[in-house]
Amino acid sequence: MLNQLKARFGSGLAIGIVGMIAIWLIALVIMPQLLMVDYSFRPNLLPADIGGPKDTYSLVNYETLFSNQIHLKIFFKTIWSSVLVTALTLIVSYPIAFYLAKVATPQKAALCLLLLIIPFWINEILRTFSWYIILAYKGPLNAALLGLGLIDRPIRFLSGDGGVLIGMVYAYILFMIFPIYNAIESLDTNQIKAARNLGAGWIRTHWRVIIPHAKPGIATGCIMTFMLAAGSYAVPALLGSPGSRWFTQIIYNWFFEGGNWNQGAAYAFLLLVICIGFIALVMRVFKVGLGDIAR
């Protein structure tokens, strides 16, 4: 890369560009991460004791999670709920992506995409808060359901995980729709016609022709949605109840309320490890490589 840049911009500018990228990556991305890893293995000490005899490396911070049943439960619940959010988002997004890519006329598809994107011009906190209003006990959704006579009394959407799941599916739907939409769009429509022509019904056409082709897009969407869901803070904070705390909230508490960065760093690092494990698993299940996803 350096040689190409040299050929184009001359060596001075080329070294400058590469140097800046290197500084950015090392100082602003890699070093802070390594610092956090370093923190996570050290005890939380008073400033005076840092670097002193008590400052030794240990796994104590990591063991805390496994000895704290509540935190451990929230940890696994977060992972499980994120899987659920990912699955729900996929179920909702695939038909939309297929419709946009292959069924809708170009004008309609453009209009739908615009309608999907416009709400995302608004800050995530505000969008999430609007769901807080919609899902409230005396909110419009309950009013509508009551009005239609579908329920006898309002449902408490915001207690338990329901509100969080709905909020997250909504918050991350675009990250699922777009990769799948791109993947399906690149499929030659004649492939679909050929499958139909050879006698395949819609389910088989999707299963054997469209989904295999869209697999990298589906994998990308699932990974992004899962990462965002597992790392989400605003949605569970606003739409969750005390019973549906997210692991990110625990991490936040260690950092900013407990004042224990070392403990928080260990928790954050564990979440990161699990997320990377999830990516590896998804890539295995979908039999896609990193190259397919980067496309």
Binding site: N190, Q191, R196, N197, G199, V209
Partner: protein, 362 residues
């Protein structure tokens, strides 16, 4: 088995645009039938109506006498070979061929037997395990044929399947397609803009233009006796001379062609005395030596093109109108005298010229 296809007064409209004008056409069981026309003439629309991807706005499609209205594409006894073949790239060659059988719930061993048999038919034995991307263009073509035949369709629809191949391969595949059609005995409906393909392979050809079926005939009739000006000029080469009908006598029309004087030709479509008409003479029907009963036109050579087996002369009439006429001669007639500027007298048999009513540009 009756595998005829009947387009029963079909009309296809997209909004205000009429893609197919009212057409009624019966394609016989076991026929090799072609739709020939320039791009945008509606031939692919017809294929889509037969295969069930489009429903006609009016009329209906009948296959084997059965009305296909409401029968979805995946339930029709048709199978299609796409212009870009549309083989499934993520499946092996055998999986591609077996797909239609897999859909129908045929057992694995039966499917294997069928794909082996079809691979043999298209002379690609032992290629079943290969990936589609490992095949050459001609091999892909044959796999597409095998895949379409695997479902044992009553009607095979071919959408310009040879257009992506090079000339030699295309000519070879023509013979092969014809051979496969003969072996299987199913109805082939072939879409093409290449008249060579249509004329060499088909039992009958429908020439289409602007959503209208201009003429349906066997290739020889189509070439010898075109019924419309479009067919006359689209199928093969033709010289068109405008004029006004002066006299019609036992199928021969005399038309006055301005400075060229009175020329004669066989009447092909309804023409009436006093009306505009076009006289068509094919380049190969001109003679340099006049014989008994021939008519002649005086011209001057503008260009001589030697094309191997034959040579074409571009000429313009000696008269002031400078009407361009193209002449085709056998290569043996070539001599050094034939050069730009030489005056010639072109003669033709009245029975070789045809007269079609109206303006040829209409």
């Amino acid at each position: 088995m009756d595998s005829s296809v009947h387009l029963d007064n079909v009309v296809m409209q997209f909004g205000d645009f009429t893609a197919i004008q009212k057409s009624d056409l019966k394609i016989e069981s076991g026929e090799f039938f072609s739709f020939l026309g320039p791009s945008g003439c509606g031939k692919t629309t017809i294929l889509n109506m037969i295969s069930g991807f489009l429903d006609p706005t009016e009329g209906c499609v009948k296959i084997g006498g059965q009305d296909m209205a409401g029968v979805p594409a995946n339930k029709r006894p048709t199978s299609m070979i796409f212009q870009n073949l549309a083989l499934f790239p993520l499946m092996t060659v055998a999986e591609n061929i077996e797909f239609g059988l897999e859909v129908r719930g045929v057992s694995k061993s039966e499917r294997k037997k069928a794909s082996d048999r079809l691979l043999e038919l298209v002379a690609l034995e032992g290629s079943g395990h290969k990936k589609v991307s490992e095949l050459s263009g001609g091999q892909k073509q044959r796999i597409a044929i095998a895949r379409a035949l695997a479902v044992e369709p009553q009607v095979l629809l071919l959408d310009e399947p040879l257009s992506a191949l090079d000339l030699k391969l295309r000519q070879h595949m023509r013979t092969e397609l014809k051979e496969i059609q003969r072996k299987t005995g199913i109805t082939f409906i072939y879409i093409t803009h290449d008249q060579g393909e249509a004329l060499t392979m088909s039992d009958r050809v429908a020439v289409m233009s602007a959503g209208r079926i201009q003429q349906v005939a066997d290739p020889i009739t189509l070439y010898r006796d075109p019924k419309t000006a479009f067919v006359a000029s689209f199928v093969g080469e033709n010289n068109a001379i405008q004029g006004k009908v002066e006299r019609i006598d036992s199928g021969i029309a005399e038309i006055h062609c301005g400075e060229l004087g009175v020329l004669k030709g066989r009447v092909q479509s309804s023409v009436a005395v006093g009306e505009e008409a076009t006289l068509f003479i094919r380049p190969e029907h001109f003679r340099l030596q006049a014989e008994e009963g021939m008519l002649s036109i005086a011209v001057e050579i503008e260009e001589v093109n030697f094309e191997g087996a034959y040579l074409t002369l571009s000429t313009s009439t000696a008269a002031a109108s400078k009407q361009n006429l193209t002449i085709q001669l056998g290569a043996h007639q070539y001599n050094d005298d034939l050069a730009k500027g030489k005056a010639l007298s072109l003669s033709y048999n009245v029975s070789d010229a045809i007269v079609i009513g109206g303006d040829s540009n209409a």
